[in-house]
């Protein structure tokens, strides 16, 4: 390596000072032109030759280091062209081409940094340090990479939670928007799970680390996005392979043209015009901007292939529970039959308070929501599949079967209320005391907010068919779909049925996006053209889905489709711009209006145009 040390140092110096180099070149070119105007031609030409050499040198260094890696780079084309220009006594061409090339690189680096800004915003939020609790109880600031599972860290109010883990002391409220999409603060106490990257709004927590740094959920999200930005769409991969042959081909063609026409100027101009600059950058830059923008809006794409696949989707299939609905049971109806509803609900909630059944949780939560004080509850026994019954058999809480088995009459108006609630997709809990039904509580899952608006947006953006797939009974499923822009309801399905339906639709040539929570519908997610996970940034969703909606709602799904279409559109436009530029330049060369300097100018301009085009995605 020692032989290469000076070249190495120069290369690094040039890459860090490319702005200064191109400024110096510009100065020399202007000085030379002024001298030539002032009829001091020979001095001017000498300065121009110097400028040409000065500009070619760093480009040649890069070309050489690439060549040593058996790569024919754009720099090699430019180097040969400039050496040729100097040899045939066209120093202005060499000086201007190298200036444009180096200055173009500076501008490209600046604008490319902007296309990456969305993801940089994300990585800048990654925790760097944590206060690790020591054996003596004091805390010690520690680099995040040096924290192991099991370490206890302290987070103070206003601080950032640095690790994934479990709260072992303290309480506080955390904002976990980055990980779950939930913007409102969530109360955290001992035993609760917290995520790195969340902000501690108030309170103080001691956390036992389960994962830190790159291993945390946040770290995995960042890694997923970083990998996705480099995972190109099929069209970009094609162009990459094409460019690998294209660049040497330009070299060969220019050589042949030079030998046949005996016109060195024509040959070296072809080298410059043939540079595949905008072509190699046009598609990837769209991917970077589109995927980065999506990440900052809570949509994680796994790669360019996924973006392209989502943009081409014509059918969206949705799971119901946990996808169309929140998956959380809530009380939808409370109806008393004689007597005060709140009083009866307080009694019911009191006896349900110790139960771990989801329906019981919903009822207790509703009583809290209504501010009811729970009475002392009698001892209850659980009858599986029925409900709860007191020791003396006078108090019953459960379904119709429980009441009938205990000889409690169900009057017509109670039965009508039960039927109505079940028709709406609810589960029903009845409360009876001393042989009389007193209360009906209907518990059900709730539609996510803005489902209708989100699905309508999907339709407006080219999705032809929306299908709901659910294991629930038909009447409940149809009730839920009513009023939503859903074209078809497939109910009473087993998980393998969902898989079969997705497969069959694909065989009929449909391009399917399957939206699920990523837990029980993983097979369907994997089989669809695009699997969209609505489970928030959980490890399960990250593993099984192609697209993860950090914020599990339908507005975000609409954003995902919009950005996928936008990104694919920009990719196509950029390829047209790049290919069009080369074609126009070659035509210009044929009719003699394009020269080396102007050709390089158009090239650099086209590169900036494709980058600027991609930057539009950052505002979508």
């Amino acid at each position: 390596m020692s032989i290469n040390r000076p070249i190495t140092k120069l290369n690094i110096w040039y890459s860090q000072n490319s702005g200064k180099t191109s400024a110096a070149l510009a100065g020399l070119i202007v000085l030379s032109l002024l001298l030539q105007l002032a009829r001091l031609g020979s001095t001017g030409v000498a300065i121009m030759t110097f400028a040409g050499l000065l500009g070619t040198f760093p480009i040649a260094l890069r070309a050489w280091s690439a060549l040593r890696m058996k790569t024919i780079s754009i720099e090699l084309l430019v180097t040969i062209a400039c050496i040729g220009a100097l040899a045939i006594g066209e120093p202005e061409e060499a000086a201007i081409v190298t200036f444009l090339f180096l200055f173009g690189n500076v501008l490209e680096a600046r604008t490319l940094a902007k296309t990456r800004s969305a993801v940089k915003g994300l990585t800048d939020m990654a925790p760097q340090q944590a206060d690790v609790v020591q054996a003596d109880g004091s805390t010690w600031p520690t680099d995040i990479d040096d924290i192991d599972a099991g370490d206890r860290v302290l987070v103070r109010p206003g601080g950032q939670i640095p690790v994934d883990g479990r709260v072992v002391a303290g309480t506080g409220s955390a904002i976990e928007a980055m990980i779950t999409g939930e913007a409102t603060p969530v109360e955290k106490g001992v035993g609760d799970i917290v995520y790195a990257g969340a902000a501690l709004d108030s309170g103080a927590l001691t956390i036992e680390t389960s994962a830190a740094g790159d291993d945390s959920t946040f770290g995995q999200i960042v890694e997923l996005v970083e990998n996705a930005q480099d995972a190109q769409a099929p069209v970009a991969q094609f162009i990459d392979r094409f460019a690998a042959y294209y660049t040497p081909a330009v070299l060969v063609i220019a050589l042949v043209v030079g030998l046949v026409s005996r016109n060195v100027e024509l040959a070296i101009t072809m080298l410059v015009l043939g540079c595949p600059g905008a072509l190699v950058i046009g598609a990837p830059v769209a991917n970077v901007a589109g995927i980065g923008r999506a990440a900052s809006r809570g949509v994680l794409f796994k790669g360019g292939k996924t973006v392209a696949a989502l943009a081409g989707v014509d059918t969206v299939m949705l799971d119901k529970t946990g996808t169309l609905t929140t998956g959380h049971m809530t009380v939808n109806v409370v109806r008393a039959f004689g007597g005060d509803a709140d009083m009866a609900l307080a009694k019911l909630a009191a006896i349900e308070a110790d139960s771990s059944h989801p329906l019981a949780h919903a009822i207790v939560a509703e009583s809290k929501h209504r501010g009811l004080t729970l009475a002392q509850a009698p001892e209850m026994a659980t009858i599986k599949g029925r409900g709860l019954v007191s020791a003396d058999g006078r108090i019953l809480a459960g379904n119709v079967a429980l009441l009938q088995e205990h000889s409690v009459a169900v009057p017509g108006r109670v039965q009508a209320a039960i039927d109505a609630a079940q028709h709406d997709g609810n589960s029903v809990v009845l409360y009876a005391q001393a042989g009389v039904v007193q209360l009906l509580v209907a518990v059900g899952d709730q539609l996510r907010p803005d489902v209708a608006a989100g699905l309508t947006t999907l339709k407006n953006r080219g999705v032809k068919r929306i299908v709901m797939l659910t294991g629930d009974n038909r009447s409940a499923a149809e009730q839920m779909a009513a009023g939503l822009p859903i074209d078809e309801v497939r109910a009473e399905l087993l998980p393998q049925d969902k898989l079969r339906i997705v497969q069959a639709a694909r065989q009929h040539g449909r391009r399917i996006a399957f939206v699920g929570d990523g837990i029980n519908d993983a097979p369907a997610l994997a089989t669809a053209d695009v699997g969209i996970g609505m489970g928030g940034g959980t490890a399960v969703a990250l593993d099984t889905a192609d697209v993860v909606l950090v914020k599990p709602d339908f507005a975000t799904l609409a954003i995902a489709l919009q950005l996928a279409k936008g990104t694919t559109g920009v990719t196509t436009q950029n390829i047209v711009i790049a290919v069009g530029t080369v074609v126009l330049l070659l035509l210009g060369l044929l009719v003699g209006i394009v020269h080396m300097g102007s050709g390089m100018f158009v090239h650099e301009a086209s590169i900036l145009v494709v980058i600027a085009n991609a930057l539009r995605l950052l505002h979508k």
Binding site: N11, R62, S73, E226
Partner: protein, 74 residues
């Protein structure tokens, strides 16, 4: 096998990526090199008995790129 994660100064041309991948893959003891162009990171697994992360950093600097940080994971 250890993994080296090198943070590089921003890469500007896609051919930079090929250069770095070729060069690092050519070092004895290195397996599956991956250059993340946009994140400006190089990830590679290597056999600790044959090479080390600092050597990989030197190779990349030899190509003319600045290595900002070197991280090694088991």
């Amino acid at each position: 096998m250890k993994q080296a994660i090198l943070k590089l100064d921003g890469l500007t041309c896609p051919s930079c990526m090929q250069k770095i991948e070729h060069a690092v893959a050519g070092v004895a003891g290195v397996q599956d090199v991956k250059v993340l162009f946009n994140a400006a990171k190089m990830k590679a697994h290597f056999d600790a008995e044959q090479t080390d992360a600092d050597h990989l950093a030197n190779v990349i600097q030899g190509l003319g790129y600045t290595v900002e940080s070197v991280n090694v994971k088991d």
